[in-house]
Subunit: 167 residues, 2 copies
DNA sequence: TAATATCGACAACGTGATTGACGAAAAGGT
DNA sequence: ACCTTTTCGTCAATCACGTTGTCGATATTA
């Protein structure tokens, strides 16, 4: 068999679609949600948040974390995490404070602005999912989530999306 | 993007899951397919093909294309496309020939090896989709594809995935 | 013929990741 | 206590991959 460009047509029989469409559709769905969320964020005082930053802020978490820990959670080197934290700090989303109990550590903490963007993101994601429910119905959305959970191994269900494409 | 950890609970009312899970699940599904495909390709003589290269090879197509055209299809500059073509040429997946009818153009064409990787990719995608059908049932997979087609705007259904994340 | 547009290449640069090395500080074993 | 190992954050060099701008050569069009 083949696909798009190599053997156009010839497939998509009863099964539904050619195999190559499934990943494209999954990515398009992911991308449409992320794009729309960031469009909303940009309209509400957060024009500089990029997808990768959102993941990083997520990795900081409520209790704060060190750059090394953030790197581990994101699956990148501590150096790369440190640079990202610098940018986030420059944008006012996190602050770094010395850890009084460990002279080596500098704890990265979310600022009020950082919390705000995370709260707005959570609300935005919920709103976007509600839109999917409105169009498709709650059953179909639930079914999709359940099916994806069944097919996606835990190793793929992670926060280290950025930079993965060019591994 | 993101929230998770800032307002745990409080959500996920009747709908099913928290909103932030949907994009993560979509990405995880996409990623699991791409990862598995490239694992298979690596086992069958194509260890150097990376996701971005697959997209580029797809953009070359059966009839070949110029670097500029590939760039347009991929949504990147012609210079970037030219560099990618160089790598693909180094790996033996494409060849460049002068266009006798247009002294400016150099037509990029798939080599036998390039065709092979596309054919194997097509077969791999079909096999992977068949696996989803085996586990979930054909109806659910078809429903998922139809639902994603309904929710993903055409603008998101494109070949320019690489580098999008850090826009 | 002359003006405009396109192709492919080159150079310079930006960004975001990597590895390797380093000093400072903590933790652990003897 | 002391020495060793680990961890943290940072600096430096490098790589991968994209960008813009420029350029000569070639087509296309007015």
């Amino acid at each position: 068999m083949a696909e798009r460009g190599v053997e156009p047509g010839a497939r998509s029989s009863a099964g539904g679609g050619a195999g190559f469409e499934l990943p494209l559709l999954l990515f398009a769905g992911f991308r449409s949600i992320i794009d729309e969320l960031h469009r909303e964020l940009a309209e509400h005082g957060h024009p500089d948040v990029r997808p990768a930053y959102g993941f990083a802020l997520q990795a900081v978490g409520r209790d704060g974390a060190t750059a090394s820990e953030i790197g581990r959670r994101l699956g990148v080197s501590k150096q790369a995490a440190g640079k990202t934290v610098e940018k986030l700090e420059g944008l006012g989303y996190v602050e770094r404070v010395d850890d009084p109990r460990d002279g080596r550590r500098k704890l990265v903490r979310l600022t009020a602005r950082g919390i705000d963007v995370l709260v707005r993101s959570a609300e935005g994601f919920d709103r976007l999912r509600a839109e999917w429910v409105r169009v498709l119905g709650a059953d179909r959305v639930r079914a999709m989530e359940a099916d994806l959970r069944a097919m996606a191994p835990a190793s793929a269900f992670r926060l280290d999306a950025a930079g993965w494409f060019n591994d």
